[in-house]
């Protein structure tokens, strides 16, 4: 077990280093931040001075080493656009993204598993067929389109929910700005959470359904039925439990995806999270923010993968056997 964790941690570190290097060298070619930072009246000399002050004249390897050295101490530099430490900016924006991501993940997991079981058990029912057809929309429509449609229907036409922003927030534990406890915060959360979770919902639902159908065909289910166990025990005690391994993998990986791809949803809904911070940073060639964001996302994926691997251990006894033997 320990050897396994250490091996996985070393792999994770390697991945992080490669991501940082790639991100860093890539961002050197996205444009020149200096133009955006100075007005049209600035002279060439002003530009040259600013470039030197930002360290943009140094060779890329030097800049990269400086970046890694600082990053290891939790210092991601100063945002060119907001003129504040990147770590502060990200810390300020992260609660918004996490609340959105976790709400939509919860929405996707609960409804996804529920509907998946339902459609598997009532395979021929009209409601199941309707849900399956509808889920095709969730898979095939692009996120921004879903967002815009939801805004037009529920915000412009019906006026039920808010079209943008996060509503009022309250400060929890002195640093976490939460919008989950205010009416306007909740009214702001509904549409983006649905937009962000819809794809995951359909994915989970279809996966649960397929796995469940698969498991229901296996011999041990037949034996269980033959022993006269009630449907409830067969379905939820035996069948569901055995469908969960791949579902946990997908949910784990999708949580990372949700946070990473919150970018589009955050842009559509003007959600003040890290995704929008990243988009604004790209437009402004705010290299410190872009690099930090990419490293953060990579870290998230690596961490989630690690957790998923460990969960396998817990859920699937076969893995423990093979590792021990």
């Amino acid at each position: 077990m320990t050897a396994f964790i250490i091996r996985r941690l070393l792999q994770a570190l390697l991945v992080m280093a490669v991501v940082a290097l790639v991100a860093f060298s890539l961002f050197r070619y996205v444009g020149d931040p200096v133009h955006n930072m100075l007005g049209q009246e600035a002279t060439q000399q002003d530009r040259a001075e600013l470039r030197a002050a930002l360290g943009l004249d140094d060779p890329v390897p030097v800049q990269f080493l400086r970046f890694v050295g600082n990053a290891l101490q939790g210092d991601f530099g100063i945002s060119y656009r907001a003129a504040q430490p990147v770590s502060t900016l990200i810390a300020e924006r992260l609660p918004a993204t996490l609340e959105l991501a976790l709400t939509s993940a919860l929405f996707a997991v609960v409804l996804g598993i529920g509907l998946g079981i339902y459609t598997a058990l009532r395979r021929g029912g009209w409601l199941s067929r309707a849900v399956m057809t509808f889920s095709l929309i969730g898979i095939s429509l692009p996120t921004f389109l879903i967002g815009i449609v939801l805004i037009y229907v529920f915000s412009v036409e019906l006026g039920w929910f808010r079209a943008f922003g996060r509503g009022e927030t309250v400060l929890l534990w002195g640093w976490w700005e939460s919008a989950l406890l205010t009416p306007s915060g909740l009214a702001s959360l509904v549409l983006p959470a649905i937009t962000l979770g819809l794809f995951q919902l359909t994915l989970i639902m279809r996966l649960v359904r397929a796995e469940m159908l698969e498991v229901l065909r296996t011999d041990y289910i037949k034996f269980a039925r033959a022993r006269g166990l009630p449907d409830r025990v067969v379905h939820f005690g035996h069948a569901l439990r055995n469908t969960l391994v791949p579902v946990i993998t997908i949910i784990g990986l999708q949580t990372g995806t949700i946070i990473a791809f919150a970018i589009i949803t955050e842009t559509v809904f003007q959600w003040p999270g890290v995704g929008r911070l990243f988009i604004t940073a790209i437009r402004f060639v705010d290299i410190p923010v872009m690099s930090a964001y990419l490293v953060l996302i990579a870290f998230l994926f690596v961490a989630i993968n690690l957790i998923v691997d460990l969960l396998y251990y817990a859920v699937d006894p076969r893995l423990r056997v093979s590792d021990g033997g």
Binding site: G39, Y152, R162, P183
Partner: protein, 528 residues
Amino acid sequence: MAKSLSGLVVTGLAACAFATAAEARTLHWASAADSLTLDPHSQNERPTHRISHQLYDTLVYRDLELALQPRLATDWYPREDDPSVWVFELREGVTFHEGQALTAEDVVFSLERAMHENSDMRGLLTSISEVRAAGDYTVEIVTDGPNPLLPNNLSNLFIMDSGWAAEHDVETPQDFASGEESYAVRNANGTGPFELVSREQDTRTEMVRNDDYWGRDQYPMEVSRQVFQPIESSATRVAALLSGEIDMILDAPVQDIARLREAEGIKVEQAPQNRTIFLGMHQGRETLRNSETDGNPFADERVRRALYHAINAEAIRRSVMRGNSQPAGIIMPPFVNGYTEALDERLPYDPEAARELLADAGYPEGFDVTLHCPNDRYINDEEICEAVTGLLGRVGIDVNLVAQPKSVHFAELQRGEYDFYMLGWGVPTLDSEYVFNYLLHTSEGNRGSWNFTGYSNERVDELIQAMGREVNTEARNGLIAEAWEIVQDDVVYLPLHHQVLSWAMREEIQHPVQSENNPYMHHVEFSD
């Protein structure tokens, strides 16, 4: 689930009702970009100035018709015995939001602060050699040589309280490049019509009316509270206006204007913006960099003229801009000093003439060239370039279009890597000299810093330098007219159109578009 959902619906509705009924004088407005900092001298950038104009006052300002008007200065004139000294008489009895009285010392302090090397405003103040108080309410600004346009440069120059600045250790502007976070970045103590309540960068800035404002009786001041929220996505911006969460948006997307006009309770106000879009051609070098053609066709005035004839600006206005632009014959907007309608007359669209001119110049089969455009800077910039590419193709010019984000476009432009490029230019001083200085003077030293055409004309350079010194308005306007004549004749740039600003707002809001894109919320009246 159903229960909590309906609960949300009710609170959502209640929130809307609250916003419209109980606080009718609150104005929620939005535009694509947020202010970068509240430090008024740190950044020379429109969205930043836009918020500063609510909180701070300037000595003079451009009103809704762009005329220069008194604000903290009641009168200004060059001293009779010495034309290189400008005298500004200050308004008496003005106080800052925290109660300090405005004196000449504050003005001297603010101007000197804006001339500090951290300040992005100092480019507008280079001619100033000294600022001094000549009394409690009189300020003298000394320039090296007479500068007839000095007051024009001060319309975005905000006045701070020197004592407040000392108290909070913000006597120098925020050093933006090194990421300095000073007290002035999130706090403000101006004399302006609104006081800051709260500021969350990129999310929300709330301000309340300054009831002690010196101009309380002079302006309507019907807005008692204003909330500014940037909304980047244009579809969401429009939706927020339609759903009633926002009362006014500054950048209505061109494709939605017709729809907004028809929406109930919404109106669209338009005016030409202080920005003209045009194409530059590198006419100075021997050969083009990104072309198979030998030599440099752009060096020949006939070729440049041919391109001009080949571009159908009216078609671009109609199909690309959906009617929301004003075709231009000159690279400055209509309200700039030196502008005449005759200068703004375009050469006719005439592909036949274009082909003849090309043949005359030795390119009967046309030539190939690369056109560089931004795709996120000007309204429909990439689409305009696509249209140009098609139009030039019809006269045999094979255009390879490269459209890139502005961060890449402008970086490469400034490295002088383009043969043929798009640029838009605004004239904050509202005087032709500004255009000449940056775009048409030979590129050397501090002049011609945005002239990437290689154009160099000795007579034009002489005229430009003379403009800066000439105090007699009539003589000066003569110099400007002569310079324009030469430059127009040489077809240095290919003008396309003046951009049009479109503000969309609820019908009861009365606030015409200000062509610098500066809403002044103390000017707003409600007509209900």
